[in-house]
């Protein structure tokens, strides 16, 4: 298929259809409402289901019910809406159901703002809802990558029977870029619910299927929690994804950054390269599982003086970087939040301050505006 110019939100919507999604449930919220506006027309065209619910609480649970059919289903929302879906997410994780959720993040907490932010990192990777569970979390940095990861998200949800969340910020949702979709009939990736023993397809000639997260016997509940944990351990072994940009033995500093923030860091790295300053970027693509060993491996390299985490939040991912780096190198943080996207100049100044310290720096390690 030819490359076409598309807005991020619409590209995500189309990618889901091509990944075989047959059900989409939504509630409007900026900056992702274009997904719904696109799908209200497109879903019926491909024989899929589009429904605008009365709240994100309901939408999360519609997704739960729809996932129980065994078909591929998804929802999209933004920060406050995702908070309201945490109930259903916890239940779906507990009941081992596959579903895809997209969070096009905006500034928070509370009603916050409508501009891009990365401040839902903790919520996405550390649980969000109640109970011992995790989501597999993917973070694209371009519209094309959002398209590609959307397909992967459905595959991983099916592989692990666990909700998968793709998090992008408002930039990914709102910007237009040329994208290419996988070739083929949109229906080719649809799954057959009859092949899925766990799906509720009607108890014809078999015992009833019960989809639940209730285990009143504590031993059974503990077993379920360990069963979930086993999946997360398997994800840590098999699903770690990341990208390097200009990582080399000459690097004096390693930036760790994800999503669109990582793209801005690439510009910074290019500019610095032309000035003869060598900086590399480590970009996690899976935020859970976090590429711990891989970050550590890069941080350990001889020339690296500092690891700098750059985020559009007040220091969230940096905690995972600190865990990964195990104190072998100093870790610094730079961030802006509230919907402010750091400029390349700001990041560049920060990098240069760390590489060529003029005066003794404070040891707080947290920098932002």
């Amino acid at each position: 298929m030819a490359r076409i110019l598309m807005k991020g939100n619409e590209a995500i919507a189309e990618a889901a259809i091509r990944a075989g999604a047959e059900g989409y449930f939504c509630y409007p919220i900026t900056p992702q409402s274009e997904v719904a506006e696109y799908l209200t027309k497109r879903m019926p065209e491909v024989g899929g289901v589009f429904l605008q619910g009365e709240s994100e609480v309901a939408v999360g649970n519609m997704l739960f019910g729809a996932a129980s059919t065994g078909k591929r289903v998804f929802t999209t929302s933004s920060s406050p809406g995702i908070s309201l879906m945490q109930e259903a997410i916890s239940y779906m994780a507990g009941a081992h159901l596959p579903a895809v959720l997209v969070n096009i993040m905006r500034g928070g907490p509370g009603l916050g703002g409508i501009l891009p932010a990365q401040s839902d990192y903790f919520q996405a990777v550390k649980g969000g809802g109640h109970g011992d569970y995790r989501l597999l979390v993917l973070a694209p940095s371009t519209v094309q990558e959002a398209v590609d990861l959307m397909g992967l998200a459905f595959d991983l949800a099916d592989k692990y029977l666990n909700p998968v969340m793709m998090i992008g910020d408002g930039m990914i949702g709102q910007m237009m870029e040329a994208v290419e979709f996988p070739e083929g009939d949109v229906k080719q990736n649809r799954v057959n619910p009859e092949d899925r023993a766990w799906a509720a397809t009607g108890a014809k000639g078999r015992k009833p299927v019960i989809i639940k997260s209730l285990f009143l016997d504590p031993h059974q509940l503990e077993d379920n929690s360990w069963l979930l944990d086993k999946k997360y351990e398997q994800m840590k072994k098999e699903e770690v994804r990341f990208e390097h940009y200009k990582v080399s033995p000459k690097n004096k500093l390693l930036i760790v950054s994800y999503g669109t923030m990582a793209r801005i860091c690439q510009t910074v790295i290019d500019d610095l390269e032309s000035e003869g300053v060598s900086v590399g970027l480590f970009r996690p693509i899976t935020l859970f599982p976090f590429p711990e060993k891989e970050v550590l491996r890069e941080a350990k390299k001889k020339n690296i003086k500092t690891v700098l985490t750059v985020e559009m939040s007040t220091a969230q991912m940096v905690e995972d970087v600190q865990r990964a780096v195990l104190g072998v190198k100093p870790i610094e943080f730079f961030g802006r939040t509230g919907g402010i996207v750091p400029t390349p100049e700001e990041v560049r100044d920060e990098v240069l301050k760390l590489i060529r310290p003029k005066k003794k720096r404070s040891t707080s390690g947290r920098k932002g505006k």
Partner: protein, 254 residues
């Protein structure tokens, strides 16, 4: 001499062969049976999925012999909506208590009914939160005693009990809404007819259906089963009239 026998009474196929956990005298069990009989009679058991609530009937999936989902508190109508939209060929029902449906799940039930979702709700109104030990529900009667209104429900502080059948039947969207009770054989027979009708309408893809069933909770009402039936008959039916509020057949013949 040959003895011929005719089976007059047996377990519906749509019920599991197991003992329920309900308290003695509780009418949840009767309502389960009526639902199972209706599924059997319509021959839809093997294409039905039930949605269990949070409440005393949280374990309903252990008693029915069909596929089941376990919903978060109050959200059964949202699960049913999501499921039915993707599988319109299957039969879907929610089984919900009054705390589940009229309190935490008020939004989900009103909107599902208003969208005209083609599933069936069995609404078990026992005017109290049974499972959590007898707290006040939105359906608790004025001056009725519960653990969170030990002096009796004061409507000046907590509002008046919500009549769900009346509320849902005020929606413009066509639906089948009927209130029944299960405290006497006569009422049980009538309740069965209503439940069957609601499923029938769903099978025909006609409309959303809710059957509100007045039910007893001897344990948390602090009454014997017999006193409970009497209290239901005298007190509950006075506030919650037994009646068919909305029926598509009636609307169509107008």
């Amino acid at each position: 001499m040959t003895i011929s026998s005719t089976t007059l009474f047996s377990r519906p196929e749509s019920m599991q062969e197991t003992v329920t956990h309900y308290c003695p005298g509780c009418t949840h069990g009767i309502i389960h049976r009526l639902v199972a009989e209706a599924l059997d009679e319509l021959g839809v058991r093997d294409r039905t999925v039930g949605v269990a609530p949070v409440g005393c009937s949280v374990l309903a999936y252990n008693y029915f012999n069909c596929d089941f989902m376990e919903a978060p508190h109050g959200r059964a109508p949202a699960l049913a909506t999501g499921f039915k939209r993707l599988r319109p060929d299957m039969m879907v029902f929610t089984y919900q208590g009054d705390g589940d449906l009229a309190s935490i799940g008020m939004g989900e039930i009103v909107h599902a009914a208003n969208r005209g979702e083609k599933f069936t709700t069995i609404f078990v109104n026992n005017a109290i939160y049974g499972m959590t030990g007898g707290q006040m529900a939105p359906t608790t009667l004025p001056m009725q005693v519960s653990t969170t209104c030990p002096m009796g429900r004061d409507v000046a502080l907590t509002g008046h009990p919500i009549r769900m059948a009346e509320l849902l039947s005020s929606l413009v969207t066509p639906s089948y809404i009927e209130r029944v009770a299960v405290h006497t054989p006569r009422h049980i027979i009538n309740a069965k007819r209503a439940i069957r009708k609601a499923f029938q309408y769903q099978a025909e893809g006609r409309c959303y259906g809710m059957v509100e069933v007045l039910s007893t909770c001897p344990t948390n009402w602090g009454k014997t089963p017999e006193e409970s039936n009497k209290w239901l008959d005298e007190q509950m039916t006075a506030y919650y009239p037994i009646k068919c509020f909305k029926d598509p057949a009636r609307e169509e013949s107008k």
